[in-house]
C-alpha cells in the first residue's frame, strides 16, 4: 500500500505521541481541521485535546509558548502552517530557541520541533511558497532537516522529536501527496546523515527536500545523454554531512547542487564551498548550482520559470566541461 508524505508525517506524530507522554502537538488549525495539509488529521480525535490542540493565531506566540512548555518538561511539536507565516516567529526561533542551551551553559535545553511546510510548486499565492532554509541553517544551535521521501519524512520526524536539540523541520509541500511504500518502523537514524539516493559514476547531483524527486527524474533522463548520475539527498541541512557528499563527489569528479531557494547567498553556495575545499584535486569541473531565480517567489502562473526542472539541470550538467575532460569512471 502506498503512503503519502503527509500520511507518513501523521504516522510519525502518532507514534511519537504514543511512545512519549511529553510530546505535544500544537499550532493554528492542527486540531479539528487536522492542519491545512491534514498532517495532523484525526490526532486530536484519537489522542485528545490535551495532546494536540489549537492555539490563537500568532506564530511568535506559538513558538514562544513552546519555549516555555519545553522549559517545563514537555516536547512540543509546533506547526507554522506556511513558510512565510513563520517570519513573525523568527525572533523567538533565532534569539531563544537556538540559544537557550548555550545561554544557560547546558542547564536548559529545548527539545522541540518547529514544522514548517515550505517551498513552491503547488500554485500557491504569495507568502505561501518561500524556501526559507538558509535563515535557519545560518543560526547555530538549530538543527535543520528536510525529507525528500515519505519514508524519510517518517524517520526524520521521529528522530527530530527525539532530538535533545531544537529542530526546524521543513516539509516540502509539493511532495505531501506523493506516495510510496513506507515501512512504519524506523529504518535507522536519519538525522545528520545524507543518503545516496541513486548511485552513478559520472556526476553527483546534490539535492534536498522538494528537489530530490526532480533530481531523480533528471538522473533517469540523463541516461539518454549517456551520463550516469548519482543523486545525494542531504536530508540534514544543518549539520552538514561532509563525509557522504565528498565521498560521492570524489567518486564522480563532478557535482551540481540543486535547490529552489534563490541562489545568491543561498545554501548551494555553502555546499559548493565545502565540496571545492575538500574535493579540489578530484574535480574535473567547477561545482555548479541550479537554483531558484534571485527574485521574490513569483506568482503561480510564472513559478515554473523559477523552479529548477529536469531540462535546466541537464543543461547545467552539460556545462561540466565534458569535452575538455573526458569522464573517467571511478576516477
Amino acid at each position: 500500500m502506498t503512503t503519502t508524505m503527509a500520511q507518513a508525517l501523521n504516522a510519525a506524530l502518532r507514534d511519537a505521541l504514543k511512545d512519549d507522554d511529553r510530546v505535544l502537538v500544537f499550532g493554528e488549525d492542527v486540531g479539528a481541521l487536522g492542519g491545512v495539509f491534514r498532517v495532523t488529521d484525526g490526532i486530536t480525535a484519537d489522542f485528545g485535546e490535551d495532546r494536540c490542540f489549537d492555539t490563537p493565531l500568532a506564530e511568535s506566540g506559538i513558538v514562544g509558548f513552546a519555549v516555555g512548555m519545553a522549559m517545563g518538561g514537555f516536547r512540543p511539536v509546533v506547526e507554522m502552517q506556511f513558510d512565510a507565516f513563520a517570519y513573525p516567529a523568527f525572533e523567538q526561533i533565532t534569539s531563544h530557541v537556538a540559544k537557550l542551551r548555550n545561554r544557560t551553559r547546558g542547564a536548559l535545553s529545548l527539545p522541540m520541533v518547529i514544522r514548517i511546510p515550505y517551498a513552491g510548486g503547488i500554485g500557491g499565492v504569495e507568502h505561501h511558497c518561500d524556501s526559507s532554509e538558509v535563515y535557519y541553517t545560518h543560526t547555530p544551535g538549530l538543527r535543520v532537516v528536510t525529507p525528500g521521501t515519505a519514508q524519510d519524512a517518517y524517520d526524520l520526524l521521529r528522530d527530530a522529536i527525539d532530538s535533545p536539540d531544537p529542530v526546524v523541520f521543513l516539509e516540502p509541500k509539493a511532495r505531501y501527496w506523493s506516495g510510496e511504500e513506507v515501512g512504519f518502523t524506523r529504518s535507522g537514524p536519519a538525522m545528520d546523515k545524507a543518503v545516496v539516493r541513486k548511485t552513478g559514476k559520472d556526476v553527483t547531483l546534490i539535492a534536498y527536500g522538494p528537489m530530490v524527486a526532480t533530481a531523480m527524474e533528471t538522473a533517469e533522463a540523463a541516461k539518454d545523454e549517456g551520463w550516469d548520475v548519482e543523486v545525494v539527498d542531504l536530508r540534514s541541512l544543518s549539520p552538514f554531512d561532509d563525509e557522504t557528499v565528498t565521498a560521492s563527489v570524489r567518486r564522480t569528479g563532478r557535482a551540481v547542487v540543486v535547490h529552489e531557494a534563490a541562489g545568491f547567498g543561498g545554501y548551494g553556495a555553502e555546499v559548493v564551498a565545502r565540496v571545492t575545499e575538500q574535493c579540489f584535486h578530484q574535480l574535473h569541473a567547477p561545482v555548479l548550482r541550479v537554483t531558484g531565480l534571485d527574485i521574490p517567489y513569483p506568482a503561480p502562473k510564472l513559478e515554473r520559470h523559477t523552479l529548477p526542472d529536469v531540462d535546466r539541470i541537464l543543461d547545467t550538467i552539460a556545462r561540466l566541461q565534458w569535452a575538455d575532460t573526458p569522464v573517467v569512471a571511478g576516477a
Binding site: F74, K99, P140
Partner: protein, 358 residues
C-alpha cells in the same frame, strides 16, 4: 466574564503617600504583615546599594554595561518576595535587583553584564530564567512555562517582568492572549518607569494606563503606585494568589520612574528635564517605606543602621567579586551549542585549540 471584574482600580492602588503617611486608595487589598514589610525594606536598602555599586563598577570598566533600576526598588523587591521558591521569575536586563532580592549572588547576577557569559546562574535550580535582552519575548516563555507547570499539577506560578516600552511589542500582546486563553498561572508585571530609553510614555502608548491592556484579552488587571512598596507587595501577593488558585493570569502595572539614565551609554538630560527627575526623587520608594514603618514604630533607628551596615558589607562583596579577574576558558565557546558538538564545531574547536596551543 463581566468587564467589571477585570478592570483595574480607577487610580493606582496606594497604601502609603509620598510623605510616608497612610493613604487609603488600597481597595480590598490586604496589607502585608509587618515582618514582610521589614524584609522588603531590608532588601530595598540592599538593592539600592547594589545598584549604586554596580553603576560605579561600570565607570571602572568592571561591567560592560549596567542598566540601573534606582527608584524602582519597590517593584524589584516585591516581585521577588511575592514568589515562593518553586515559582519562576522571568527578569529582563534591568531587573538585577529583583535577582538579588530573590537570593542570587552578585557574581551570578552580574555575569551577563560583566560580559563573562550570557547567564550566570542555573535557571532550573534558582527558578529564574536568564535575564532577557530582547523586549517582551520572555513573556511568552513565562506563559508557556506556567501552562506546563499547571498541566503537571505543580503548585507554581510564573512572574514576568516587563518595561513600558516592551508593552508595544507584539510578543507582549501574544503572551497576554495565550495566557488568558489557556488560563495559565502567570503574572505579567509592568514597571512603567516612564521612558523606553528616551521615548516618554506619552509617545509609547495612548492608553490611560497600561493596566487597561489586560481587559481586551479577558485578563484581570490592576495598577499600583510603583513607589509604594506596601501597595506593590499587596497587589502582587494578590495577583500571585489569584494565578496560583487557577483563576487565570493577571496584568499589573506599577507607575514608577527610572531615576538614572537607561544605561551608562545614555544621556538622559537630552530627553527629560531636571525638575522632573527632582520631583520623582521626592517619591523615593526606600525613604517612603522607611518613614511609614518608623512612624508605626515597626522599624527602629538601630534596625535601619543594621540594614545599611549589611548593605555596605554586601557592596564590598560585590566589589570583591567583580574586581577579581574572571578566568574564562576559550574552549567553552564550543560547549552547549548542541547536545553533542557537530563535526563542524569539532573542527573549529581544534583550530582555536591549535591557535592557543592548548
Amino acid at each position: 466574564m463581566a468587564v467589571e471584574t477585570l478592570l483595574p482600580s480607577a487610580s493606582p492602588v496606594r497604601f502609603v503617600a509620598e510623605d510616608g503617611t497612610r493613604a487609603d486608595r488600597h481597595g480590598g487589598y490586604a496589607e502585608p504583615t509587618e515582618t514582610r514589610l521589614k524584609e522588603t525594606y531590608r532588601l530595598m536598602v540592599l538593592g539600592r546599594r547594589f545598584d549604586v555599586q554596580a553603576t560605579a563598577l561600570t565607570k571602572q570598566g568592571r561591567l560592560a554595561v549596567y542598566p540601573s533600576s534606582a527608584g524602582q526598588e519597590a517593584c524589584q523587591v516585591a516581585a521577588a518576595l511575592a514568589l515562593q521558591d518553586n515559582d519562576w521569575l522571568f527578569p529582563t536586563y534591568r531587573d538585577s535587583v529583583a535577582l538579588v532580592a530573590r537570593g542570587l549572588k552578585p557574581g551570578e547576577v552580574l555575569t551577563l553584564l560583566r560580559g563573562d557569559a550570557h547567564c550566570g546562574y542555573n535557571p532550573t535550580e534558582t527558578r529564574v530564567a536568564p535575564q532577557c535582552t530582547p523586549l517582551a519575548t520572555q513573556t511568552l516563555h513565562a506563559a508557556g512555562l506556567a501552562h506546563a507547570m499547571q498541566r503537571r499539577g505543580e503548585d507554581a506560578v510564573a512572574l514576568a517582568l516587563i518595561g513600558d516600552g516592551a508593552t508595544s511589542e507584539g510578543d507582549f500582546h501574544e503572551a497576554l492572549n495565550f495566557a488568558a486563553v489557556f488560563k495559565a498561572p502567570v503574572v505579567f508585571f509592568v514597571q512603567n518607569n516612564r521612558y523606553a530609553i528616551s521615548v516618554p510614555f506619552e509617545k509609547q502608548s495612548a492608553a490611560p494606563a497600561l493596566a487597561y491592556k489586560g481587559i481586551g484579552y479577558g485578563m484581570r488587571s490592576e495598577q499600583v503606585d510603583g513607589n509604594d512598596a506596601v501597595a506593590v507587595l499587596a497587589v502582587l501577593d494578590d495577583a500571585v494568589k489569584h494565578a496560583r488558585e487557577g483563576k487565570g493570569p493577571v496584568l499589573v502595572e506599577a507607575h514608577t520612574y527610572r531615576i538614572d539614565a537607561h544605561t551608562n551609554a545614555d544621556d538622559a538630560t537630552r530627553y527629560r528635564d531636571a525638575d522632573e527627575v527632582a520631583k520623582w526623587r521626592e517619591a523615593d520608594p526606600v525613604k517612603r517605606l522607611e518613614t511609614y514603618l518608623k512612624d508605626r514604630n515597626s522599624l527602629s533607628e538601630h534596625e535601619i543602621e543594621l540594614c545599611h551596615a549589611e548593605a555596605e558589607e554586601f557592596a564590598q562583596s560585590v566589589r570583591d567579586t567583580l574586581n577579581a579577574e574572571s578566568e574564562l576558558d576559550p574552549m567553552s565557546l564550543f560547549d552547549h551549542v548542541y547536545a553533542e558538538p557537530t563535526r563542524q564545531l569539532q573542527r573549529q574547536r581544534a583550530m582555536v585549540a591549535a591557535e592557543l596551543e592548548v
